[in-house]
């Protein structure tokens, strides 16, 4: 096992597009780190840079103490001692399961007897005991992904890279493999870099989550921190579906631009500067109630959608022209209904310049 470190790593594509911009990241030995971001955010680019399929144009990438890329020279993927699982499993169709799994051992020159013992052991570990002679075409999607996982960990890689490894599976299976993946990697003490666009998956699995956007790191934090204290309004919106509102702040509190929303200073966390600012309202901090006759029109909104959830309903509101997301444990109004809205609290950020 080894740590991974990136020091001001940038990657500019030949077309001129920026793939990664000034990435600094330390992944500790045995740590499980998820790379999260919308599509095009650079998370796969970052993973492929660590894997060695892409060469950074500047900056230093280290795996353990060893420099694998420094903007001029770049070590090829095969010499980096990694394991990798791809979204489309990439199990080689012309070899059986055992031959697939033992491939990294063959390349490493492990003797035959030890190879078959290790293959049997690792197949047992992923729940495919006795599958060594099977043709990959006869396996289900979940089993193929387990073969891919077995192949990735059989050589005791320094770092395990997961490229949307669970995204192609259907929901119940994905959930089960998520559990198995965590149990397995924790038990083996593997250093893992896991790329996903599934927010719940990133929060559920990772020790730390890296949120990327536009090739830049927006925040690196534990899952709890990420939900509680998003570093920017953008992170809050991407991770927690927060509503972003632009306005200004003074001693009395926050006033939205062109919207009736007002918040007292007691309901605001985060930046304290007066003047122009932006706030992010987490869905759980929006309260709704059936509208009462005496309530003024300024605090009533129309329900756009109302989705049922196990631990509360996701309600989308049109509040005087602004779309607000609300997570309510008690209320599930009908679509088109009028409701009273109250914002309990919000996080304030200094306005971007």
């Amino acid at each position: 096992m080894a740590s991974v470190s990136l020091e001001s790593v940038s990657l500019r594509y030949p077309s001129g597009a920026m793939g990664l911009a000034d990435i600094d990241l330390e992944v500790g030995d045995g740590e499980f780190v998820a790379l999260l971001g919308p599509s095009g955010s650079g998370k796969t680019t970052l993973l492929r840079t660590v894997a060695g399929f892409l060469a950074p144009t500047a900056g230093v990438v280290r795996i353990g103490p060893e420099v694998v890329a420094d903007g001029k020279t770049v070590a090829p993927p095969e010499s980096r001692g990694l394991g990798m699982v791809f979204q489309q499993h990439a199990v080689w169709p012309h070899w059986n399961v055992g031959r697939n799994v033992e491939y990294p051992l063959r390349r490493a020159g492990v003797p035959r007897a030890e190879r078959s013992a290790r293959v049997a052991e690792v197949l047992d570990l992923v729940g495919l005991d006795g599958y060594a002679r099977r043709d990959p075409a006869t396996l289900s999607g979940g089993q193929r992904q387990r073969v891919a996982l077995a192949r990735a960990i059989v050589g005791e890689p320094r770092v395990l890279l997961l490229d949307e490894a669970l995204s192609a599976l259907d929901e119940p299976l994905r959930d089960r493999l998520r559990i198995e993946l965590q149990a397995l990697t924790r038990r083996m003490g593997l250093t893992v870099l896991h790329v996903t666009h599934d927010r719940d998956e990133a929060l559920a699995l990772a020790d730390r989550v890296v949120v990327l956007d536009g090739g830049r790191i927006q925040q690196v934090a534990t899952p709890a921190e990420l939900v509680e204290r998003p570093a920017t309004a953008l992170v809050a919106r991407f991770v927690s579906d927060a509503t972003r509102v632009v306005g200004s702040r003074d001693a009395s509190g926050f006033a939205a631009d062109g919207h009736p929303l007002r918040l007292p200073a007691s309901g605001l966390r985060g930046a304290r500067e007066h003047g122009a600012c932006e706030i992010a309202i987490l869905p759980g901090d929006v309260e709704i109630a059936p509208t009462r006759a005496e309530s003024g029109s300024a605090a009533t909104a129309t329900v756009v959608s109302s989705l049922f959830g196990r631990d509360g309903n996701d309600v989308l509101l049109d509040w005087a022209g602004m779309t607000v997301r609300c997570h309510s444990r008690t209320q599930r109004p009908a679509v088109g209904a009028r409701v009273d809205v109250a914002v309990r609290r919000a996080v304030a950020y200094a306005a971007e310049r």
């Binding site: 894997a51 060695g52 399929f53 090829p76 993927p77 095969e78 990694l82 394991g83 990798m84 791809f86 979204q87 489309q88 499993h89 990439a90 080689w92 169709p93 012309h94 491939y103 990294p104 390349r107 490493a108 075409a137 891919a148 192949r151 990735a152 050589g155 890279l161």
Partner: protein, 563 residues
């Protein structure tokens, strides 16, 4: 209640009460426009494919000329045919496969332009290639003349078996290259990435993962090329005969032309039947071999090109030199031969003349040959276009149990040597009153080339889900109306380019035309062939160059307009 709500709850909609009131019973057999179209297309297949091939088989079985087949010259010709076809197919797969990997998976400089050059022999008729190569390596070529001046004897000529194999390779490797290229693009890049992560170098990942996955493509391109080379006429007759290297196609030509055997038609039909059986066996073996096909996922990531590193300049020079020698050099040789008064005259400015070109173009045979060829090619293109459009659309856009069979029958002639098709129509000719008419050639063209349009139409259409027709049906179109309005409309552009392809192939055809030759039905290919046989090498070269250039221009225009 809104209309949508009514539809959702299933309540009767005003104006549709008639249907709503009566329960819809599924009718098993419905005879409508689709069934009629299907019946007509089956009839066309019957007349164009099954009857000719059936005739040749029955005649061969009835005549019992198997003893004739064991005569020395037939056996020798058969061996020559089999050996040249197998060797040339192996060579073509090696050259084509190697070029495909080099051009698709490495960072070879100028690979896009080189790819176009490498594919260009497809556009040059094989007999034209043969004429051109005589200019490079024939007994009176500059190289051999110079060698004879230096050492007293020529270095060696292209005439003979080795030349036949070489030219067959040159004219069939682009097919292998196309097939392998397409297969390469279907191998997901992730498979190689996984091998790299597993510790394999880029070269090893290519060799252990990608190349083994190409096996089905290599096998099927080998079969396709071997079968089509089994009975090529132009190359063995121009390159092989001067050294008495006889193949089945040149032997059959001799039998038909000079009547050196009794009942030549039956003997020829027996040879054709044997070839047909060989072709069918090859086809079945190919099907069996490729049945174990791997299911490959689509991949989002683009494949990585193998960096050639320090050997890049060397590989580039070798690849460019190799391809240009095979493609550009023959055209230049053709050009110099066209401009020189006679073979062996040194290439110098004062010797250049346009006489050959003028003589070739103004000769009476040329004009009639051109007229016949153009007429036959246009008609063949139109008929193949219509039939191929129908079959290609029907087998991809409808659900029916006989789709697979209909498609297989229509495509079958592509796996049958042209020689067999020519003999089949020759046998059939007196019975349908087409003996000694150009229409016989037209029939043979249609049989041979309808598969081109079927494949051109079927390939793009099979990728579109059937829901587009179902959407038309749901909007109130009948089965036939949906076929006309949606399926056929989608297929027309592909059918048009297929038609152009057929016409351009037919206008330069030789094997069928030369065997089905009748008075007044001499095609352009036959004109050139006769000029060559009569010793008018330079006139033959001039005409070859002209039709090659016209063909290239035509295909270029077709490619441009279809974009």
């Amino acid at each position: 209640m809104s209309t949508i709500q009514r539809a959702l709850t299933g309540a009767a909609v005003p104006g549709r009460t008639r249907e709503g009131a009566r329960p819809i019973r599924p009718r098993r057999v419905r005879f409508d426009g689709v069934s009629l179209t299907r019946a007509l297309l089956w009839a066309a297949c019957l007349a164009l494919v099954l009857v000719p091939l059936g005739t040749i088989l029955t005649l061969a079985a009835g005549g019992n000329h198997l003893a004739t087949l064991l005569q020395g010259d037939v056996v020798e010709a058969a061996i020559n045919s089999l050996v040249s076809a197998t060797l040339s197919a192996a060579g073509a797969v090696i050259v084509g496969g190697g070029l495909a990997v080099l051009l698709d998976r490495t960072d070879l400089p100028g690979r896009r332009v080189l790819r176009l050059f490498a594919l260009s022999p497809l556009l040059v008729p094989p007999f034209v290639g043969a004429i051109a190569w005589i200019g490079i390596a024939g007994p009176t070529s500059p190289v051999n003349l110079w060698w004879r001046d230096m050492f007293g004897a020529p270095l060696g000529t292209i005439y003979g078996g080795h030349g036949v194999v070489f030219l067959l390779v040159v004219h069939s490797y682009p097919i292998a290259m196309l097939v392998v290229s397409a297969a390469l693009r279907r191998v997901p890049a992730d498979l190689e990435h996984a091998a790299r992560i597993g510790g394999a170098s880029a070269v090893r990942a290519l060799g252990t993962v990608t190349v083994p996955l190409l096996r089905p493509a290599l096998i099927s391109s080998f079969t396709l090329i071997a079968v089509s080379n089994l009975a090529d006429f132009g190359i063995p007759s121009i390159i092989g005969l001067p050294e008495r290297y006889v193949t089945l196609s040149t032997l059959v030509y001799r039998y038909i032309q000079s009547g050196t055997v009794d009942r030549p038609l039956e003997v020829v039909a027996t040879i054709g039947a044997v070839l047909l059986v060989i072709a069918l066996v090859a086809l079945v073996l190919d099907l069996l071999a490729s049945r174990r096909r791997w299911e490959l996922d689509s991949s989002a990531s683009t494949p990585q090109r193998l960096p050639l590193g320090r050997s890049r300049p060397l590989v580039a020079v070798l690849a460019w030199g190799f391809v240009l020698t095979l493609t550009l050099l023959p055209l230049l040789a053709l050009l110099s031969q066209s401009l020189l008064p006679a073979p062996g005259v040194p290439l110098a400015v004062e010797n250049l003349t346009l006489d050959n070109v003028v003589r070739a173009v103004t000769a009476k045979g040329t004009a009639t040959g051109a007229t016949t060829s153009v007429m036959l090619a246009v008609l063949a293109g139109l008929v193949c276009g219509v039939v191929g459009l129908g079959i290609g659309t029907l087998v991809t856009r409808t659900r029916a149990r006989d789709n697979g069979l209909l498609r297989a029958v229509a495509i079958l002639p592509q796996a049958v040597p042209g020689l067999v098709i020519a003999v089949a129509w020759l046998v059939l000719a007196p019975r349908i009153g087409l003996f000694n008419t150009p229409w016989l050639i037209l029939c043979a063209y249609i049989t041979s080339f309808v598969a081109l349009v079927v494949q051109a139409v079927a390939a793009p259409l099979s990728a579109t889900p059937l829901t587009v027709e179902e959407a038309a049906r749901a909007s109130g179109a009948s089965r036939f109306r949906a076929l006309l309005d949606v399926s056929l409309r989608m297929a027309v552009p592909a059918a048009l380019s297929g038609t152009v392809l057929v016409a351009l192939t037919a206008v330069r055809e030789l094997t069928l035309s030369v065997l089905l030759l009748s008075p007044g039905a001499q095609t352009l290919g036959v004109t050139i062939f006769n000029l060559q046989q009569a010793g008018a090498y330079n006139a033959a070269s001039a005409l070859s160059l002209l039709i090659t250039l016209i063909g290239l221009a035509g295909l270029g225009l077709a490619a441009r307009s279809s974009r």
